[in-house]
């Protein structure tokens, strides 16, 4: 029965693409920042070591990276929570028509995952391109590292998706186990 939940989720993602745009953009900006930081950090560290600042710069970069990741997580969480709140009624209808808890969970979980994945990927790829352009043009004298970019992309997407899943599972599961009338009468 879960696979039907998945099918419903994919269908809803396709049909609700326009509503997914804003959350996707929010998540994309977080991912953009993460990739930029990771792409440039390797270069900064190398140069800084030569300048005798190695320790501080290393810590500084870690601090910046962690902060930026937090931004990504919170943005994903905020975007997802909002969307789930909007779909409470739909959740109620599914429950009212007799669809069981787990398929409903699956059905509503697909969209946050899809949004987070594509949003983060989009932002990350754009950041990679921007980084590459800046590096070639010479605007960033510390250089843009390809390895750092790839690491950044992987981390940005993973963090966004995980954050989206965690922040949507909890409210969906809670709503699904409530009497459907509560979800139906939510405005």
């Amino acid at each position: 029965m879960l696979k039907y939940g998945l099918a419903y989720g994919l269908l809803s993602s396709r049909r609700r693409a326009r509503e997914m745009l804003l959350p996707a953009i929010t998540i994309a900006t977080g991912a953009f920042l993460v990739v930029i930081v990771f792409a440039m950090s390797a270069g900064i560290k190398k140069q800084a070591a030569g300048l005798g600042h190695a320790d501080e710069i290393g810590h500084a970069i870690v601090l910046i990276a962690v902060t930026v990741l937090l931004v990504g997580v919170v943005e994903a969480a905020v975007a997802t929570t909002r969307t789930i709140a909007h779909r409470t009624r739909e959740l109620g209808v599914l429950g009212a028509t007799g669809v069981r808890s787990r398929p409903v969970l699956m059905a509503l979980l697909v969209e946050p995952v899809v949004t987070a994945f594509f949003g983060a990927l989009g932002g990350a790829v754009i950041a990679a391109v921007v980084g590459a352009v800046l590096g070639t043009v010479g605007a960033v004298s510390s250089g843009v590292s390809a390895g750092g970019t790839v690491t950044g992309i992987v981390i940005a997407v993973a963090v966004s998706v995980v954050a989206a899943v965690i922040t949507s599972v909890v409210p969906i599961w809670r709503a699904v186990n409530r009497p459907p009338i509560k979800s139906l009468s939510a405005s």
Binding site: L22, L51, H59, V62, I64
Partner: protein, 399 residues
């Protein structure tokens, strides 16, 4: 009248009935004026849906924190850098660095030379001196040792901080690589200042020249050229330029500084990475844009959720109020986010980089971010409201 029920037995429960307040009472005006009313309305709204407020503020606060962290670090580098340059060359007009260049040693907290002072003779009329600047590996870690002509032999001048670090006191003895000298606490330089001979002995012959122009040439903006051609060395005003390692040194003209930045600060940003400065600058700009995007998307979502509410307000003639209200709410969110973000950033930087970060840098960073806030808050409010007010109230009122 509404009756409040305490017990749940059937006989005690009554259904709710209300009697309306008596008509024809003139309502007193509230205090505080329009802004006060809007503020109260905004605060009431926040209390109604605290989670939404918290989430919006948190999202923006994090972006602000990211930007503040980046800018604080960047400014700290510049300040620390600027200070150590001033400490090293003390405001002299000309600085001749050796071919091997100079480095900032973070353990010592000061600039030191990587090669012997250039082999030059001062041109006629110029005053100046050779300075020894090297690293001493003391039992308490690296210490920069400067050999400055005019320092009495047998004396070691240091700041109170350095004295504390080395565990010595004013007037007391200091064991300096086999020599015993008397400590004299004064000034704020991170380096230990002794006589040039003693310095050479401790850190070997590494250092640079500093020089000043003759009074007759005061105010000239080509002192570098003047000095450089006189001693036969390349010269520059650009602190980013480094000496040719196969040459004999490089003359820096420290008197010119375009814009508000002194030579010292520009040099600092060069060695701490014009690199890091521009990259960090880029990151901080992106962070600000990010914060703005988050804010706008947050307000747009909020507007969507409250369409009916605003439809009602609009339909009873309060269209302008809707805009003002949103401006106020936007302001509240941004101010709260700024406070939280800036404080969080300060704590984070202080925890991770206690030696490098300075409160001044943090204050500067916070102020820079604050400068952007009004524009962001206003645009952040206007975009959603504009969309809202374009629609007819009827459209807003129906689901």
């Amino acid at each position: 009248m509404r009756l409040t029920i305490k017990d749940v037995t059937a006989s005690q429960i009554v259904s709710q009935t209300e009697t309306s307040p008596s008509p024809n009472v003139v309502l007193p005006a509230s205090s505080g004026g329009t802004f006060g009313r809007l503020m109260r309305f905004a605060i009431a709204n926040i209390r109604r849906r605290p989670e939404r407020f918290v989430l919006s503020v948190l999202g923006i606060a994090l972006a602000i924190a990211a930007v503040t962290v980046v800018r604080t670090i960047s400014t700290s580098f510049a300040i620390t850098g600027g200070d150590s340059v001033t400490n090293a060359i003390g405001g002299h007009a000309i600085w001749v660095v050796p071919a091997q260049g100079v480095t900032y040693d973070s353990g010592a907290g000061a600039l030191v030379a990587d090669g012997p002072p250039s082999d030059i003779t001062l041109p006629a009329g110029w005053t100046g001196t050779e300075m020894i600047a090297g690293l001493w590996y003391s039992p308490h870690g690296q210490v920069a040792v400067y050999g400055v002509a005019g320092t009495p032999a047998g004396k070691a001048v240091m700041s109170a901080q350095l004295a504390q670090r080395l565990g010595v006191s004013d007037g007391g003895p200091l064991s300096l690589a086999g020599h015993t000298v008397t400590v004299s606490v004064s000034g704020g330089s991170p380096a230990l200042t002794v006589s040039p001979d003693l310095a050479k002995d401790v850190v070997k012959n590494v250092g640079w020249w500093v020089a000043d122009e003759p009074t007759a040439d005061h105010g000239r903006n080509d002192l570098g050229k003047l000095f450089g051609s006189a001693v036969g060395l390349p010269f520059t005003q650009n602190p980013a330029q480094t000496p040719d390692s196969s040459g004999k040194g490089l003359v820096y003209d420290t008197t010119t500084g375009s814009g508000a930045l002194s030579f010292a600060q520009k040099y600092a940003s060069a060695f701490s990475g014009q690199v890091t400065d521009s990259t960090l600058g880029l990151i901080s700009i992106i962070g600000l844009v990010l914060g703005f995007v988050i804010a706008v998307s947050s307000f747009l979502a909020s507007v969507q959720e409250r369409r009916r509410e605003f439809g009602i307000m609009s339909s009873i003639g309060l269209a302008d109020e809707v805009l003002y209200f949103f401006l106020v709410e936007s302001g509240v969110v941004f101010v709260a986010a700024w406070l939280i973000g800036v404080l969080g950033a300060g704590v984070a930087v202080w925890a991770v980089l206690p030696h490098l970060a300075t409160p001044v840098a943090w204050a500067q960073a916070s102020a820079t971010v604050a400068a952007f806030l009004p524009a962001m808050a206003i645009v952040g409010a206007i975009v959603p409201v504009h969309r809202l007010l374009q629609q007819r109230p009827v459209a807003l009122l129906t689901d």
